[in-house]
């Protein structure tokens, strides 16, 4: 029995240790809570923003996701920035110009700007940041465009010129993404940039607790002295219901995205405002134009006539969205509206008959396992049934789907018939909204042209448009591209998402861009 008692004692000690550990964490936690005052009622100097996903990195030169980008825009600025519509505006550069051959970019820099660590902002600082993007091999995601740079010339302290070896139409957008880091940070500790971000932005970094929150505070030496909130905390909250609850209790001042199913309830709440922003997210189904019977343009057009786009928006997107009336959303630069395929079953049947498929055929549609995707695919299935096409739905987990799509090395190997998917590009980067999707050089695995669309004119125009810096000429070529592709119908053109965000009514100066980025430069609480 004695032996058992020893074990009993050990067990009691173990349990008490666990409890003590628990309690001590509680105590320290309480203090933290009280000092940070995260409840909105006790302290109006802190703005809390809840987003749906974790932030991945705070190194702006190595970031591909919108949420990390959003947080970074509070701390960093580029030579150029973007406005509420997503169009390019000067930021750390006061003026800029592009040479006629689209090879030379000249910038006149803003004076009197300092980094959060006290370093001055000047042409050398810009050069240091750009050289990091060009030379550091680990910055694979952001080197696109910068790998075309042949020289960066510092003309004087506040003038800089960048020269490319070949024209690249997305370059101005790259200057927006290429945030300028403190040269001291780059030279001293290149390994820690993602953890200790130092920029020139209106807010400076405080702390980042992985998976829980990231906090920034007002930078009082910021060049634009507007009144803004003292502190901002970003929180990843993946569960829709929890995000809504946070907005209702005031634990969060801004939530993005606001879930569609809760909008009615939120709209009736007087403390809350709902924002609907037309996005650059195009929703479509790509149709494999090299596979029978989809290689017949009449079949693809018939499919487009058979799908009721308005019903799509109201059924699948709960009424929030706009029809996709070109190959790019209307917020994208050089957009030109096309004559849409209005819902017309008779016309669709006629086209099917002309193509020799009066009785329809069996088809397959692929998509990821997201419940909204499934709803969308079921909608397409039901719509195409009207013209005799029996659609089988295959939903696959994202990684598996990506393997299926990009695993095919040649168009002949591709098994995909229809893919329910979306694409979002920067509003100012029409190249990215067209070339990877419609150029014949972008067939998987080399790009996202999963419709295997090939049109020699379009290929030629896509090359041409990238070689000029003249906006009028670009507009003309892009107009041709849009009308040719829209007629060829390599996609079912479904809709453009409206992105939804919610905020407490006392929030000012926070806006969401068409790409879903959250801008807090002028954020304040009334």
């Amino acid at each position: 029995m004695r032996r058992v008692n020893v074990w009993k004692m050990l067990f009691v000690v173990f349990v008490s240790l666990v409890l003590m550990a628990g309690c001590s964490s509680k105590e320290s936690g309480t203090d933290e809570k009280e000092s940070s005052g995260s409840s909105s009622s006790s302290n109006e100097e802190e703005l809390v923003i809840a987003v749906n996903e974790n932030f991945i990195s705070m190194d702006p030169h190595n970031t591909g996701d919108t949420n990390s980008n959003s947080v970074q825009t509070a701390m960093f600025e580029g030579l150029l920035g973007s406005d509420e519509e997503g169009q390019i505006i000067p930021q750390l550069a006061e003026e800029y110009s592009v040479s006629d051959n689209a090879l030379e970019y000249s910038f006149k820099l803003r004076q009197g700007v300092t980094f959060h660590d006290g370093e001055p902002f000047n042409a050398e600082a810009v050069k240091t940041s750009f050289e990091r993007i060009m030379k550091d091999e680990s910055l694979r995601l952001n080197s696109r465009g910068f790998n075309l740079i042949t020289s960066i010339d510092v003309i004087d302290d506040y003038q800089i010129k960048v020269t490319l070896k070949e024209p690249y139409a997305g370059m101005l957008t790259r200057f927006v993404s290429a945030k300028i880091l403190s040269p001291k940070l780059i030279n001293d500790s290149s390994g820690d940039i993602g953890k200790t971000p130092v920029g020139t932005g209106p807010f400076k970094f405080v702390e980042w607790v992985q998976g829980d929150h990231l906090t920034v505070e007002r930078f009082d030496d910021y060049w634009d002295k507007a009144d803004r909130v003292k502190k901002i905390t970003y929180k990843p909250v993946p569960e829709n219901g929890s995000r809504v609850a946070m907005l209702k209790t005031g634990e969060a001042h801004v939530i993005y995205p606001a879930p569609v199913q809760n909008l009615k309830e939120l709209e009736s709440n007087t403390d809350v405002e709902i924002h609907k922003i037309p996005s650059t997210i195009a929703r479509y189904v790509s149709i494999n134009t090299m596979k029978e019977p989809y290689d017949d343009v009449r079949i693809r057009q018939a499919i487009n006539y058979a799908v009721n786009k308005e019903a799509f928006i109201s059924v699948v997107n709960s009424g929030y969205g706009l029809p996709l009336d070109s190959i790019i959303p209307s917020k994208t630069q050089f957009y030109s509206k096309q004559e849409t395929y209005d819902h017309n079953i008779e016309k669709a049947k006629e086209l099917m008959k002309e193509a020799g498929f009066e009785d329809g055929f069996n088809a397959e549609i692929w998509g990821n396992t997201n419940s909204d995707t499934l709803k969308g695919m079921q909608f397409i299935q039901q719509q195409l049934k009207e013209i005799g096409i029996t659609v089988e739905i295959k939903s696959m987990e994202e990684g598996t789907l990506s393997d299926e799509i990009y695993g095919a090395q040649t168009p002949e190997e591709a098994k995909v018939q229809m893919w329910y998917v979306s694409w979002s590009a920067y509003p100012s980067d029409t190249t990215n909204a067209t070339k990877p999707l419609f150029s014949s050089s972008s067939f998987p695995p080399d790009g996202a042209n999963t419709a295997y669309y090939k049109n020699d004119d379009v290929d030629k125009w896509i090359t041409e448009v990238n070689q000029t810096a003249d906006p009028d000429k670009q507009a003309e070529i892009y107009s041709n591209i849009q009308s040719a592709i829209y007629k060829d119908a390599p996609w079912i053109f479904l809709g453009v998402d409206e992105i939804l965000a919610g905020s407490r009514s006392n929030v000012e100066g926070v806006f969401i861009s068409p790409t879903g980025g959250i801008n807090v430069t002028d954020a304040n609480l009334k």
Binding site: K33, R140, R144, G194, E239, S242, S402, D403, D446, G447
Partner: protein, 307 residues
């Protein structure tokens, strides 16, 4: 006993070795190319290949395993493909919140489960029994995410007592631990009840009662103690699952724990993070099993471990 524990710990080494091989190869078997996922939809094949080489994914899988293991022996869990941060660093912020949450859930699940189970058995077919079993059945049948959202609605939105999520203070732990513990509490209550009922029918209980022992001695000291062996087994197993299985609850309460990290990593095919997490969960599971075995002998001195 001490020898037995040492032996068990030594036995862990080959087990962990086999587990590490299984984890490594199964992780790499999941369809989906991390290089493609890192590169993004609009990447060209060249870009994807550059990334693949950089991540070392172009090497033969045995080669990758050897590199992985040799790093592991030097205490290096690898670097996340997604964030570029060392995996150990990503764990640092999340490990303790997950552990606290698990212990808290287990703690109150044990206390309430045993209490409800004992009361139900003692008052068999009377109202405390019915009430207890209704609670237990509801606890088992309510899905975690649903219970979680209901608790948020009542206690955060309506009453404003607790935050909706995060892990900032002790208050943040209350609702998630209640949600996480509900199922286990119910299971323990049912097991305690049936096990106790069985023991109460045993000869030695009758003897005890015949000797004139009071019920307050018979139940806790003789009956309950002897009924606990199956309960401890269940509790131990559940505890192991809790450590890695709080994914849903962590998502509902935006809790910065290990479960959510695992889900995020799987979606992104972040091999180093998935591997390290699974390995950690395996170690925890094995340790919990060891503790359960030790507790057997505390509960019933007849069980002796011979080395």
């Amino acid at each position: 006993m001490l020898q037995y524990i040492l032996k068990r710990i030594l036995e862990m080494i080959p087990i962990l070795f086999i587990v590490s091989i299984l984890i490594f190869f199964f992780t790499h078997l999941i369809p989906g190319d991390p290089a493609r996922l890192v590169a993004g939809k609009d990447a060209t094949l060249d870009e994807v290949n550059i990334i693949r080489a950089e991540l070392g994914l172009d090497k033969p899988i045995w080669d990758q395993y050897i590199t992985y293991m040799s790093n592991l022996f030097q205490g290096d869990l690898g670097t996340s493909l997604k964030t570029g941060l060392p995996v150990s660093e990503m764990f640092a912020d999340r490990f303790m919140p997950s552990i606290y949450l698990t212990f808290m859930s287990m703690g109150w699940a044990l206390v309430l489960g045993l209490l409800i189970g004992t009361l139900s058995a003692v008052f068999k077919n009377k109202w405390p029994d019915y009430l207890g079993m209704v609670t237990a059945v509801s606890g088992i049948s309510m899905p975690g995410f649903w219970l979680g959202l209901i608790l948020i609605q009542i206690f955060s939105v309506q009453l404003g007592w607790f935050p909706t999520g995060g892990a900032e203070s002790w208050k943040s732990y209350i609702l998630p631990s209640l949600t996480l513990g509900a199922g286990i509490m119910s299971m323990l209550a049912r097991f305690t009840r049936s096990s106790l009922l069985e023991t109460l029918r045993a000869d030695f209980i009758r003897t005890g009662r015949a000797k004139g022992l009071k019920e307050s001695v018979v139940i806790p000291k003789h009956a309950l103690r002897n009924s606990l062996i199956p309960v401890v087994t269940i509790a131990g197993l559940q505890f192991g699952f809790l450590l890695g299985g709080s994914v849903v609850v962590e998502t509902v309460f935006s809790f910065p724990g290990m479960g959510r990290l695992l889900i995020d990593s799987i979606a992104f095919r972040d091999y180093p993070v998935i591997q390290a997490e699974l390995l950690l969960f395996s170690i925890e599971f094995i340790l919990v099993n060891l503790i359960v075995d030790i507790m057997y002998s505390m509960l019933n001195p007849k069980i002796r471990y011979v080395s």
